[in-house]
Structures are given as C-alpha cells and as structure tokens.
C-alpha cells in the first residue's frame, strides 16, 4: 500500500438543519482509483467540494498529503485537480484558449503542453471552435484536460463520463487507468452507477444519505458479488473429497460455518447434486448464491433487491 493521500476524520456538513454529510471517514492511498458511489443527493459532490476547498465542513477535519492545518491544506491543493458537477470552462474561448488560461494561472511555461493534453483527451481537431459550441461530451473532455494540465497527484472527478458516447466512455476509462498506472496518480471518481465504475476503479466507497456505508477493494467486491453454489452438509470433509476426486475441482472454499462455496459448475447444479448424493454426502442446503453489482449496491443502501 502506498502513501496516504487523503484522510478524512468524521467530516460533517450541515446546511441549516439538513445534514448532507454525516461523520464521513475515508482514506485514499497513492496510485489507486477510488469510485465514490451513491445515489443523486447522497453527498458525493459535497465531499469533493470540501476536499477541493470550494465548500467547508461544519465538523470534522481532513488531512491532505499528511497536512491538516488550513494553511497547509491550501498549499497541498497545488498537488490536486478536480472537476466538480460540470466542467468549469470559459465558453467564449477555444479548447486551446481554455488550456492557455489555466496554464497561465498555474504558471506553467511549457506551451506545447496544451497540444499534448488536447491530443490525450481527443480534442486536438477542435481548432477555432468555441467551447460554447461543444457537445456535452466534448465539454467533459475539456474539463478533464484542464484537470490534467498540472499532472496532479490526486485527481477528483465528479461524474466524468456524463454525456459521453460509449466510445468516449471507453476512451476516458482507458485514459484514467493509464494515468493511474504510468503516473501513480490517485483518482477519486464519483458516480451513481456501480457497473460503470467497475471497469475503472480499484476501490469503492459507497455513500448513502451522507453516510459512508462501506469502503472496499475491488477484490472484496468481487468476493461479495461472486456467484457460487452453497452446499450445506453434515460432513464437509466428505463433500470436499467428492468435489476433488469425482468432479475434479479445487475451486471451492470450506467456510467456518462448515458450508462449502463451490465456484465451478454453476450451470450444472443437477450434476453436482447427483454426484454428491451418489457418493453418500447428506445435503442440508444446496443453492445458487451471489449478486449482481447493482443488487449488491442496492442491498447495501437498503433499497429494493432485484431478483
């Protein structure tokens, strides 16, 4: 695990009497892509705004690159970039003009960087077209281009693929993965769509009504959502022996409660039960288990479970 980039300690945000964030404590490590998942109004943007300095927490604190005072955090923000809610662009300027404006603001002397970044996000051919005439997808790309200008160590993106066509979604997904791998960039992406994030992120933070419901790695999520045959029997050792010798599989786990999770033969329930029965295994439970990403998410936030 890399260095801790961001650590929030019981962040709470209240607007008048309405609590938008409630005791939010998360930790982001270097070089990982975090998916912040929650329904609309769950508090994703508010959390991102607080980290970015656009909004302020009512209670709690956070550390950015290990620094925690207001002054230090403000200095550390030079190492981050973000695009929150909608791309903040100047509509009367071209894509290149927008990048020049942000390059000047950050004191970056390298003019060639503008073309390189435009190439990277696929906006090189927009030439003199003003940003106000861009499609929503192009604006999103420009917003990402602006965020990438400083080669940030932490990139915060709020719904970055909103409005992108399917090819654009794949391109942005590949770009983010590449940035994370090549530059060890830590990325926090928000979305209300878990399957969309599944192909990009390495970690998940699930937020609901301002509370963090779960922070988990992709491996843990896979484990939670993986389909398997749940086998309950009186003698698990005997069952395991049949699986290994008769069905020739080792792709199973004996759980502490003595049930067995079998990850093979998902389409052949009948064959498995017959083999076990014929070799004298007394079954107490036999069922197909597992979840889809959407169902897992809905279950976690207490919504209706789809069958």
């Amino acid at each position: 695990m890399g260095e801790t980039i961001l650590k929030t300690n019981q962040l709470t945000k209240t607007y008048k009497k309405h609590t938008v964030l409630h005791d939010v404590s998360i930790e982001l490590k270097e070089g990982r892509i975090y998916g912040l998942i929650g329904e609309n109004g769950a508090g994703k943007s508010t959390l991102m705004k607080i980290i970015s300095g656009i909004s302020f927490q009512t209670e709690g604190s956070f550390e950015l690159f290990g620094k925690s005072t207001d002054k230090e955090i403000q200095q550390q923000r030079k190492r981050i970039a973000s695009m929150i809610e909608q791309p903040a662009i100047s509509p009367d300027m071209t894509a290149k003009g927008n990048l020049k404006y942000h390059r000047l603001m950050r004191g970056i002397p390298n003019e060639e960087l503008e073309d390189e970044i435009l190439q990277l996000v696929g906006l090189k051919s927009t030439n003199n077209k003003k940003a106000k005439h861009f499609s929503l997808g192009m604006k999103q790309r420009l917003g990402i281009a602006i965020a990438l200008l400083t080669n940030p160590e932490l990139l915060i993106l709020d719904e970055p693929v909103n409005g992108l066509d399917p090819i654009g979604v794949v391109e942005i997904r590949q770009l983010l993965t590449r940035l994370c791998e090549e530059r060890q960039m830590t990325i926090l992406i928000s979305s209300h769509n878990l399957p969309e994030l599944y192909q990009t992120t390495t970690d998940y933070i699930i937020i609901h009504k301002g509370k963090i419901m779960k922070q988990m790695t992709q491996q843990q999520l896979d484990e939670e959502c993986r389909h398997y045959i749940r086998i309950g029997c009186t003698v698990p050792e005997q069952c395991a022996h049949v699986l290994e010798t008769i069905l020739k599989t080792q792709n199973f786990q004996v759980m502490p409660n003595k049930t067995i999770k079998l990850y093979d033969f998902l389409e052949y329930l009948g064959d498995v039960s017959t083999a076990l029965f014929e070799h004298g295994v007394t079954l107490t439970e036999f069922s197909l288990q597992g979840d889809t990403l959407e169902n897992y998410f809905l279950t976690l936030i207490g919504g209706e479970r789809h069958v």
Partner: protein, 260 residues
C-alpha cells in the same frame, strides 16, 4: 498571484465584451470632446449639453465599470471557473486582490479615451464648455485653467484614482451578488443615489461629512487645476482608504463563502 493576474488579463481581453466596452468609451470620449468643443466655440447650441454630459466619463464609467466587473467576476461564478484558483491552492484573499488589480488595469484602459481627449483638449488653444455641467475629466477639460505639466499629470492621475475608487465597490457587489444583472442594476442605482445626494451635499452638513469620506463627494468628482495640493492629497487618501475598506469587506464576505 502574478500568475492569477496574467490569467485573468488573458481571459478578460479575450472576451468580446471588453472590446465592445472600449469601443463604447472611445466613441463617448470623442462625442463628449466634440460637443464640449462645439459649445465652447459657439458652433453648437448649449441645449445639447445634456447629451454631452451623459456621454462624459463620470456617467459612462458607471455603466462600463459595472459591466466590466460582471465580465471579470460574475462570469466566473456562472461558469464555475471560480473553482479553479481555489482548487489550485490560491488563497481567497489572493483571488480578491488579483481580480481587483485586473479590474483596475482594465478600467484604466477603458477610461484612457477620456484621458486622451482631455490631454488633447488641454494642449489646444480652444475653449471647451458643457454649459456649466462638469464632472470627472470633463471638469478638467472645461474649466479652461492653465497649469504646468506636473499639475496636469497630477490632476489626471488623481481623477483616475477617484474613478478606480468609486468603481471598486463593483468588486464587492460582484462577489456578494454574483449575478450580472443584479450587479449592474444595483451599482447603477447606487451611482444615481450618490449623484442626487451629491447635489444636496452642501445643503446638509451631515450628508456633506459622510460623503466627504467617500470618493463620491462632489469635491472629488469635480477635481480641477484650481485645487490645492492639500485637496489632492485628501482626495487620494480618501480614495486609498475607501479601496482598502471595500476590498477588506469583499474578502470577509468571500473568505468562507460556499461556492455552488
């Protein structure tokens, strides 16, 4: 902060609105100069002086300054561009001061046509008049008092400072109200109010005292070569203090402001 100033200058000068405003002040300055010249030389009737006064710097800059503030500040709130300097680690006080510096630089550019016509007028051996109405550079142009180069320069610089101080309040309005229409409307109403109050200033001692601490005092908007050094120093000091107070208030309102 230098980077912020450069970036804001780049963005604002790329905006069409700025060039439209410059064209507007240039046309107004030429028209004001021509009318003052015409009336002064009896080739135009004095009844046109109302239009000439309307096109003078004191009136035009009220409108132009408020629109410039909206282009520079309100548009950043509209487009969420105000997020960027904050996320980039700039302190909010740096943002306020950078905006103010750029605002003043561009105001000087916008008021420059009035300065140029005033210098041209002062260097001509002609009489200028606006039928007794005078404020801002128009008052310098029409008073027809001769002076040295240093005196001319001092009075022109002081008048620029008065303009900048008066319009600095647009920065506060833009950061507080954030909506272009509200900023232009409220500043225009404020300037109308100050104009009316200034005309009664000498009748009410209290009002006279209050206004004398602001750049809206009739003494400062009718600067001319007859004024003493003390009056000039007083005008510059009041303007400087007014600017500091307004920028401090702006910072205090923006310091912990939530940005949507």
């Amino acid at each position: 902060m230098f980077n912020l100033v450069r970036a804001y200058l780049y963005k604002t000068t790329k905006s069409k609105i700025f060039w439209v405003l410059l064209a507007l002040t240039t046309c107004s300055a030429i028209a004001m100069f021509s009318i003052a010249y015409g009336i002064g030389n009896n080739s135009l009737d004095e009844s046109i002086s109302n239009i000439g006064f309307l096109l003078s710097d004191m009136n035009m800059m009220t409108l132009v300054g408020a629109v410039l503030a909206t282009t520079l500040i309100c548009s950043d709130f509209d487009t969420k561009n105000i997020h960027h300097p904050i996320i980039s680690g700039f302190a909010r006080i740096q943002i306020v001061i950078s905006k103010a510096i750029v605002f003043w630089i561009l105001l000087i550019v916008l008021v420059s046509p009035f300065i140029i016509v005033t210098i041209i007028g002062l260097s001509m051996d002609s009489t200028f008049s606006m039928g007794g109405k005078a404020a801002g550079f128009l008052s310098i142009l029409t008073l027809n008092t001769s002076g040295s180069f240093v005196e001319y320069t001092t009075i022109i610089i002081t008048m620029i400072i008065v303009h900048l101080a008066q319009l600095t309040i647009c920065i506060l309005l833009a950061f507080v109200l954030r909506k272009s229409v509200l900023v232009v409307a409220s500043y225009y109403m404020m300037s109308m109010f100050f104009g009316q109050v200034a005309s009664f200033q000498n009748s009410f001692e209290m009002m006279n005292k209050i206004l004398s601490f602001t750049p809206y005092s009739v003494e400062y908007i009718t600067l001319n070569l007859r004024m003493s050094k003390g009056d000039i120093i007083s005008a510059v000091s009041i303007c400087a203090i007014f600017i500091v107070v307004i920028l401090y208030l702006t910072f205090m309102t923006f310091r912990k402001a939530e940005i949507r």
